[in-house]
């Protein structure tokens, strides 16, 4: 004996406060809870969202402060650099317009090694070529050459004492007035050669030595105030300058060949040139065992 149920009555019972018979069964079902992990995640998200509401003003404030700090720092650095440049100008007495090249430091170790070799070679040449009185008149923009050249060799007795520093400005002015004022370019080439010795090795060092020689000629002949005949006499008394090109070429010889060349120079009576070559050879090959003859020459 069964009768068809009335769906509306069932629905009405379901919508009652106790949800009817199935409501009672449903309430006895297990009551799973969300895991603690989810609680932590949700609450953390909410906390982050609440903080995020307050964060933007603080972030804008930090951004502004950071920008201001950066500007102050940059201005401070610029001011310090300016002070240092002014101090250098005051020390050297050279006008700022003379400084056309900023010396570049080599980055790689090989470049540094090459640079020192290049500088030493130039110094060796300058030792030979530079009359002592010309040293103070060298331009500010070639510090490595000046640093090496000045203390390297004492002035010969026959050479007059160095020109006073006060006489340097006329030289600079004179040089600047010349139409083919080589020094800035030449010094630039020298510095570039120091920074990139492999590419610019031959050309730049020759240019540098040539420029240095030219400046020294100016210094000897004009800045010191010597007359032309007297300068010629000075030059004739100075030791015969070895060819920088030749020295440079010898640097690229095999060690045995270079030593043979040195012996040849010595035997040919070009003792000073041989000493120069030998000095440079010992710098480049410090472990090479020299013969007694060459050792005596070196000493």
């Amino acid at each position: 004996m069964s009768k068809r149920r009335n769906p509306d009555e069932d629905l009405q019972r379901l919508l009652d406060a106790d949800a009817g018979e199935f409501g009672a069964i449903y309430r006895r079902l297990p009551h799973p809870e969300p895991p603690r992990r989810l609680d932590r995640v949700v609450l953390a998200n909410a906390a982050r969202a609440v903080r995020g509401d307050r964060a933007p003003p603080a972030q804008r404030w930090l951004l502004g402060l950071g920008s201001a700090a950066g500007l102050v720092l940059a201005a401070g650095i610029a001011w310090q650099v300016g002070q240092q440049i002014d101090a250098q100008d005051a020390q050297t007495g050279a006008p700022r317009s003379e400084r056309t090249v900023i010396p570049v430091q080599p980055i790689t170790e090989s470049a540094r090694t090459q640079k020192s070799e290049s500088v030493e070679a130039a110094a060796a040449m300058a030792d030979q070529e530079l009359p002592a009185e010309a040293a103070p008149a060298k331009p500010v923009s070639a510090p490595p050459l000046r640093r090496k050249a000045t203390p390297a060799k004492p002035a010969p007795a026959a050479v007059p004492p160095p020109a006073p520093a006060a006489q340097a400005p006329p030289l600079l002015e004179q040089r600047a007035a010349e139409p083919q004022a080589a020094p800035p370019t030449a010094v630039s080439a020298a510095d570039a050669a120091q920074a990139f010795p492999e590419e610019k090795d031959n050309v730049s060092s020759e240019a540098a030595s040539g420029a240095a020689r030219e400046r020294r000629d100016h210094a000897a002949g004009k800045a010191v105030g010597l007359s032309a005949p007297k300068a010629a006499a000075e030059q004739s008394r100075a030791p015969a300058p070895s060819s920088s090109v030749k020295l440079r070429q010898n640097m690229h010889l095999a060690p045995q060949d270079w030593l043979a060349e040195i012996v040849r120079l010595k035997n040919a009576g070009r003792r000073q040139e041989a000493i120069e070559n030998l000095r440079l050879f010992r710098r480049m090959h410090p472990d090479w065992q020299l013969s007694d003859e060459l050792r005596r020459l070196a000493e």
Binding site: R5, L15, F22, I25, Y26, V41, V42, A47
Partner: protein
């Protein structure tokens, strides 16, 4: 933040059970539970004070559940539900709580819930788990009041059929 914690403690259980019984997979329920709260947090600016928070929260959860249903498998056809509804023919005196043990009653109700078509299951759960009335279910699910009534009737018929087999 304290207010949110109170709100969360109050609704976390019912929301979780609604999701778990709607989706039948704990991993899915966990995911949508977290997503529901995330959306509620993100949309808190749009929450209107005059709306009931439960209804608003369940609307979010319901939308996520429906999206999940649509992605997972096609909806059960109304014809299938109609067949079950027509089979409903049980005697008055064979009340399930009298015939079956309490454990068996719970087991059958769980099975019946799992077997319900998705829309009916969600509607049934909104009534049973969350205690919503027809108007509120209509608001949460976005369908008319009569549609809610129809879904509840079909759901009841299916559940009862499970108890009487």
């Amino acid at each position: 933040m304290l207010a949110f914690e109170m709100l969360y403690r109050r609704h976390r259980g019912t929301l979780y059970r609604f999701l778990l019984r709607s989706l039948r997979q704990r991993a899915d329920a966990d995911e949508l539970f977290q997503e529901t709260w995330s959306r509620a947090i993100a949309a808190r600016e749009r929450y209107r004070v005059e709306a009931k928070f439960t209804t608003w929260l369940l609307q979010i959860a319901h939308n996520l559940v429906i999206d999940r249903f649509r992605r997972s498998r096609p909806q059960a056809s109304p014809e299938e539900a109609e067949v079950v509804f027509n089979q409903l023919d049980a005697p008055d005196d064979e009340r399930p709580d009298r015939v079956l043990s309490e454990f068996e009653q719970r087991r059958r109700l769980q099975i019946a819930l799992e077997e319900l078509p998705e829309e009916q299951r969600v509607t049934f759960l909104l009534r049973m788990e969350n205690g919503l009335g027809l108007e509120e279910i209509s608001e949460v699910t976005g369908v008319g009041r009569e549609t809610v009534k129809s879904r509840l009737r079909y759901a009841l018929a299916r559940v009862r059929a499970r108890f009487e087999t």
